[in-house]
């Protein structure tokens, strides 16, 4: 070989490397997915420019919600919801601790599953985001003007809040169906008495239209199946909610085998407008129970807890027309309603085919009483009478379906690891795209609403393996972004996520961005321990409780020298950030705090509890780089022995006398 050949080869190799580095493509391994040459430009958002969509991904076992920009895949924020977060003092400061209160005590973690945007007229409106906690059954509400969790509500009589919080068309209700049936009400019984004692509860949570506050309107007592997922109707089917069930076998052990025996389980169709009529007529039973509702007030910057001890329960046998079962093969997972409200897609995860039900046919079958049988007062409609069509052998293990608003549906297949595009009405498969690997949920912006923005699809995968640089045995889950604006789905981006993203929701940035708050108004701060000017900064003793009313501004604390604290005191630092400018938070941390730091936004007050165990003089300082004099933003607190008589003193800019 001569050198000329070598040099040509070198140049070609080099050119190809350069081209690939531009396109952000993977250049190693096999089966990574074909990426078009223009993929990079489709996801490129130039420095300083903003993404087109906000995407809210559940954190799964992280308990949180992560906010990404699409199409770039930029991580914008992690919102703490069900798990404590030391970075933001969530669950550590006195203000947010009540948000994690339950009848089981303070619960610092949960398994967050399905984010759901509030809707008006069937379209996401950008006011609130709801998400369910599966483990200790709860629902949380996030305010999208602050991107903070502002409310949590515990779900009584639930054994795992999974089919939740899917909204109705105008956010009249969000729902909470139990995944694991339990004794209703809870009691000490033998597990073997499952069929006799275990029941399901389908809970409807009313959302106040003006401020979003949640309250449990009613529960429906249903047979002890596993209520897996849900979606409410829209358009013509507005007024109904559909819940999938599995384990119609009612097994309680080795469910892997025993809950997969029947050819069909059910989709429960609930007429919630009928439920409202029954409630108005007083045809409910009031059960004693206990659950917490915890609400964060933006005015007082504090959360408070309230324990509620009654719940209204509707019993199907006493309320005809309230609920029907639609037989659906086989252990259906997701239930998804198309934008018109006509088609109810059952994703039978152990079935070869997918059954799609028709709302019109369901109405007709109800009118004709085309019932197969009745279970605990719930009529079971005949399968053939409600079936709209079957998608034949589209893939293995269907889980979830979303829609593009152009007459197409997209279904994830966990076992065959792909997204399949099919046509509503003709049920023909149009396209399929592989996922890396084993996709669970998928999300199209507005894809479960009346008006999908059908430009992108995000596949939320369960297995990552070799997609990114390895990080030991544990790695983040992967998400993949597809361009679905053309006939063929096109993979354009791959990005790691936080925790395990189950479901996600996305909304055009223009709906949310203009309402995003920059600061909290100091004048509107009604925190009972706020110090709204340096003049109000002070230290008070009440027995062994010390209250420090502290202020921050670039770059000092007032007070920054404190003396007269004793070992065994409970010291509450109530820190108010006096700044009124965008993105000027101050942090607060003190040596030996067994809680966390504080991170206080402009105009906000937060409280850190510090309980010193040893005498000495301890520094405290600002943790958020706030100005050129940030390193100087520091003070000292002196702790004396219990029997010492050091007077309480404080100040800034003057040395306290000793």
């Amino acid at each position: 070989m001569n050198l000329r050949f070598h040099s040509t080869f070198f140049l070609m190799l080099f050119a190809s490397l350069m081209w690939q580095s531009c396109g952000h493509q993977s250049s190693t391994g096999q089966g990574k997915g074909l990426v078009g040459s223009n993929a990079a430009s489709k996801v490129y958002v130039a420095p300083g420019e903003h993404d087109e969509f906000y995407a809210f991904l559940s954190g799964g076992f992280s308990g949180q919600v992560s906010v990404y920009g699409l199409p770039s895949g930029r991580l914008l924020k992690v919102i703490p919801v069900f798990s404590v977060d030391a970075e933001k003092a969530y669950g550590f400061n006195e203000e947010t601790k009540p948000l994690l209160n339950t009848t089981h005590g303070f619960i610092p973690w949960d398994d967050a599953h399905h984010p759901e945007l509030s809707q008006t007229k069937g379209v996401p409106d950008g006011r609130w985001l709801f998400i369910n906690g599966n483990n200790t059954p709860r629902v949380a509400r996030i305010d999208l003007s602050t991107f903070e969790t502002v409310e949590t509500i515990e779900i009584p009589n639930s054994g795992g809040n999974h089919s939740s919080p899917f909204t109705t068309e105008n956010t009249e209700y969000i729902v909470a169906g139990t995944r694991f049936s339990v004794p209703f009400p809870q009691k000490d019984v033998a597990i073997g008495t499952y069929k006799e004692n275990f029941k399901g509860a389908l809970t409807y949570i009313k959302v106040a239209p003006e401020d979003g506050q949640m309250s449990i309107a009613f529960q429906i007592l249903v047979p002890g199946y596993d209520y897996d997922l849900a979606h409410s109707g829209k358009g013509k089917s507005h007024g109904w909610t559909f819940f999938t069930t599995y384990n119609a076998e009612q097994s309680h052990t080795l469910k892997e085998v025993n809950a997969s025996q029947y050819d069909k389980d059910y989709i429960a169709a609930v007429n919630w407008k009928k439920a409202e009529e029954y409630l108005a007529q007083g045809k409910y039973q009031e059960f004693p129970t206990a659950y917490y509702r915890n609400h964060y007030s933006e005015e007082s910057h504090m959360a408070t807890s309230e324990k509620i001890e009654k719940v209204k329960v509707l019993v199907p046998s006493e309320c005809p027309g309230l609920i029907y079962y639609l037989p659906t093969p086989k252990s259906p997972h997701g239930v998804d309603v198309d934008p018109s409200g006509e088609y109810i897609v059952g994703n039978g995860k152990l079935s070869a085919d997918m059954s799609v039900h028709s709302f019109d046919k369901m109405q007709k079958a109800i009118a004709n009483e085309a019932f197969e049988k009745e279970i605990d007062g719930i009529p079971v409609l005949k399968y053939e009478e409600v079936l709209a069509g079957i998608v034949k052998e589209p893939g293995l293990g269907p889980l979830h379906t979303e829609f593009d608003g152009k007459g197409n549906a997209y279904t994830t297949f966990f076992i065959s690891s792909e997204v399949v595009k099919w046509k509503l009405g003709t049920w023909e498969v149009l396209d399929r795209a592989p996922c890396y690997y084993s996709v669970g949920h998928l999300m199209i912006p507005g894809g479960d609403s009346k008006k999908p923005w059908g430009k992108y699809l995000v596949a939320l995968n369960k297995i990552t393996k070799d997609r990114y640089l390895p990080t030991g045995p544990e790695m983040n889950h992967s998400a993949q972004l597809y361009d679905i604006s053309g006939d063929k789905m096109e993979l354009i981006l791959d990005f790691p996520t936080i925790g395990e993203p189950h479901y996600a929701q996305a909304i055009p940035a223009d709906i949310v961005k203009p309402k995003s708050k920059k600061i909290y108004e100091l004048g509107a701060n009604k925190h009972p321990h706020a110090a709204k000017s340096e003049k109000e900064a002070r230290v008070e003793r009440n027995g062994n409780e010390i209250h420090v009313y502290m202020t921050t501004i670039r770059s000092h604390f007032a007070p920054d020298n404190i003396e007269g604290i004793k070992v065994g005191d409970k010291v509450y630092f109530h820190v108010t950030n006096l700044e009124q400018d965008w993105d000027v938070p101050h942090g607060f941390s003190v040596l030996g705090a067994r809680t966390s730091e504080l991170l206080i936004m402009p105009g906000q007050t937060e409280t850190l509890l510090w309980e010193p165990r040893k005498e000495g003089v301890y520094p405290f300082y600002c943790t958020d780089f706030c100005s050129a004099l940030h390193q100087e933003m520091q003070g000292y607190i002196r702790v004396s022995a219990r029997n010492q008589n050091v007077p309480l003193k404080w100040g800034t800019g003057e040395q306290p006398e000793s």
Binding site: R4, F14, M18, C22, Y44, K535, I553, R554, A628
Partner: protein, 155 residues
């Protein structure tokens, strides 16, 4: 025939082109010329100079005591963390400020501090004098700033 040196230089050129190719393909990139941080000292008369901001021209009438009283409340809430009325603190004391500055300059410093400390020769000098402690933008309205100015007249 190519030598090794030739090959290396071609690769280097290609690398350069590649980088340009990557950069050039990005949308929304514009050539912007930012102003030099260091500018020659400008001599201004502080009793004529109005600063940079929304307030162009302000004629002071006789002292309005109600306004001054309201201004005092605002000043105490939003300003006292860094300013003491009669002595130097984190920032300068506002006492007798109108003997040193124009009323427009004072209001522009309250309402537009970021631009002032970057561009205004007097504000720039003050920033250095006060060790880089920034004047915080407390997002007051023009009306609120005017009331605070009225309060300053009483000091």
């Amino acid at each position: 025939m190519m030598t090794l040196k030739h090959i290396i230089s071609i690769i280097l050129v290609c690398t350069g082109l590649g980088i340009i190719g990557c950069g050039g393909a990005q949308k929304g990139q514009e050539n912007t010329t930012s102003e030099p941080i260091y500018q020659p000292k400008q001599q201004v008369d502080p009793m004529q100079h109005k600063g940079i901001g929304p307030v162009q021209n302000l004629e002071l009438a006789a002292l309005d005591e109600t306004m001054a009283e309201e201004g005092k409340t605002l000043y105490e809430q939003y300003c006292t963390a860094c300013h003491k009325a009669t002595q130097k603190y984190i920032g300068p004391a506002p006492k007798d400020i109108l003997n040193r500055r124009t009323p427009e300059w004072v209001m522009n410093m309250i309402l537009n501090p970021e631009e002032m400390v970057q561009k205004d020769p007097i504000a720039k000098k003050l920033l250095v004098e006060f060790n880089g402690a920034p004047m915080a933008n407390q997002h007051l309205t023009e009306e609120q700033a005017r009331k605070i100015l009225e309060y300053f007249r009483t000091l």
